[in-house]
């Protein structure tokens, strides 16, 4: 298994590594629920160094990437981030990713660990001069209502003006790093990209802060599931299109991209199935792979499911036909017909991610 530059830091906080897409990453430190609730109330620290990062410089590279994704990367303003995805010819989602326009001439792209090898080859092939920074880059997410105060107290003055979904290039202790105000938890938070060598030092400084708790993949999953954020490889795969995944608002219909004609047809014809948020009526959780039934008939499948510590019931995502996708629709999931219903997204509504300063 591959290790991030922070592998040596986990044990000091009780973290035990497991295999996540070939990476040795911690599932939990003190406990998933405790870490989840700490992130919702104070600040959680997540090692996301397994993710992919690319720097595209120059118009040709940015145009090349723009053709690969359904979002508009050309009109994206410097300093802004945009959520998007790379599609195959059938409009299936190979990867969902984020672009940060560092300057008029530079686009920084963040991708998932699972399909990284394939995505790297695609980006390097389509974007002249693109650089794959994944192996050289560590990523730490600081997420929670106190994340901003924590970073300001540690000298990250540059983050003060950042609005949701913006980013900045800055320096800390003589190293250059990138910080975006984004995340995967629903809370106010920042994602910090830095050279590998700086990561252990920054981790220790952050982890020593009294309001910060190291968090593992387990809490990352419960936090994102309560928000209805899809996970690549589970909820979002090459067999689902962005329309089916509920990403229509991120599609730039006025530009060209791979898979667009399929999406246009689907837009007219309508989607057979869509991704919806679900919640159970009890503490019992729906699980990935559970069949979903409506009035006794199998109609779909649970793609993610867990107990939601902040909502006190089972939460998840499921692929179901349009006809049963309206919030409030009663469904059953799994071998014991767990009672679930389609929920408004997000299921957890107390998140602080959009807080204004």
């Amino acid at each position: 298994m591959r290790q991030t530059p922070l592998y040596g830091e986990y044990a000091a906080h009780g973290g035990k590594a497991v295999d996540f897409h070939g990476w040795a990453l911690p599932v939990q430190f003190t406990g998933i629920i405790q870490e989840h609730l700490h992130t919702r109330s104070k600040a959680g620290l997540f090692d996301c160094s397994h993710m992919g990062e690319f720097l595209l410089t120059g118009e040709a590279a940015i145009r090349g990437f723009d053709r690969m994704v359904f979002g508009d990367m050309i009109s994206l303003k410097p300093g802004r981030c945009r959520y998007t995805g790379i599609l195959n010819e059938r409009a299936g989602i190979i990867d969902d990713c984020v672009g940060l326009k560092l300057s008029e001439n530079e686009l920084y792209v963040v991708t998932n660990a699972g399909p990284l090898e394939k995505v790297s080859a695609m980006i390097l092939g389509a974007c002249p001069g693109a650089v794959d920074l994944s192996d050289a880059t560590a990523k730490l997410d600081v997420q929670g209502p106190l994340a901003r105060e924590v970073l300001l107290s540690l000298g990250f003055d540059a983050i003060a003006p950042l609005a949701y979904w913006t980013g900045i290039r800055t320096r800390w202790r003589d190293a250059e790093l990138l910080i975006t105000r984004a995340g995967y938890t629903g809370e106010l938070g920042y994602e910090i990209y830095m050279p590998n060598a700086l990561a252990p030092e920054l981790w220790r400084v952050l982890a020593a802060h009294p309001d910060v708790a190291p968090c593992g993949l387990g809490a990352r999953d419960t936090l994102r599931t309560e928000m209805g954020y899809p996970l690549n490889g589970e909820d979002v795969t090459e067999s689902i299109t962005p329309l089916e995944a509920g990403m229509e608002r991120f599609i730039a219909w006025d530009k060209d991209f791979i898979g667009k004609s399929i999406l246009e047809e689907q837009r007219v014809r309508g989607c057979h199935s869509v991704l919806v948020a679900i919640r159970s009526a009890s503490r019992q959780a729906p699980r990935h792979g559970f069949e979903v039934k409506h009035e006794g008939q199998v109609v779909g499948e649970v793609t993610s499911g867990t107990f939601g510590p902040s909502v006190g019931c089972g939460v998840g995502l499921a692929r179901v036909p349009q006809a049963v996708a309206a919030p409030g629709t009663k469904l059953a999931a799994g071998p014991r017909d767990l009672v679930i219903e389609v929920a408004e997204m997000p299921v957890y509504t107390g998140g602080t991610c959009r807080r204004k300063f």
Binding site: V27, I33, Q34, G218, R283, Q284, A285
Partner: protein
């Protein structure tokens, strides 16, 4: 319950004698493996169970599993507190986190089970 006085299964249940009844729960190892326990489904009082029959269910944030009856008997009582405080299984697996009590047991089946030393030995050989 005192772990040294209990009997253990390879599925990580424990059973111990308490007066006329036998108390059943899951072991400290099992609760550690499961992590934060979020849901417990308990059997109905009066149900007759065979040895190794699926009797209760337990879920954590990351996993779900069944709890089997270590010995045959009749469900005499269940720990209803777990329905609202399943975390008691994590906090006190041999005490407040018990699952159910069995009456009319087949006590001879206790000899099929491991004592504490044998269970520790079993865990050493099966660390996952």
């Amino acid at each position: 319950m005192n772990p040294s006085e209990l009997k253990y299964t390879e599925d990580h249940e424990w059973v111990g004698c308490a007066g006329d009844l036998y108390v059943v729960g899951i072991t400290d190892f099992a609760q550690h493996q499961l992590g934060d326990i979020t849901f417990v489904e308990l059997p109905k009082v009066g149900r007759v169970v065979k040895q190794h029959e699926e009797t209760a269910a337990v879920e954590s944030v990351k996993a779900a599993g069944d709890v089997y009856a270590p010995i045959a008997g009749t469900i005499a009582a269940v720990n209803e507190t777990l329905e609202t405080q399943p975390e008691l299984v994590n906090q006190d697996p041999y005490g407040e986190g018990w699952f159910f009590r069995l009456g009319h047991v087949d006590a001879a089946q206790l000899s099929d089970l491991m004592d504490e030393a044998a269970y520790k030995d079993f865990l050493a050989k099966n660390p996952d």
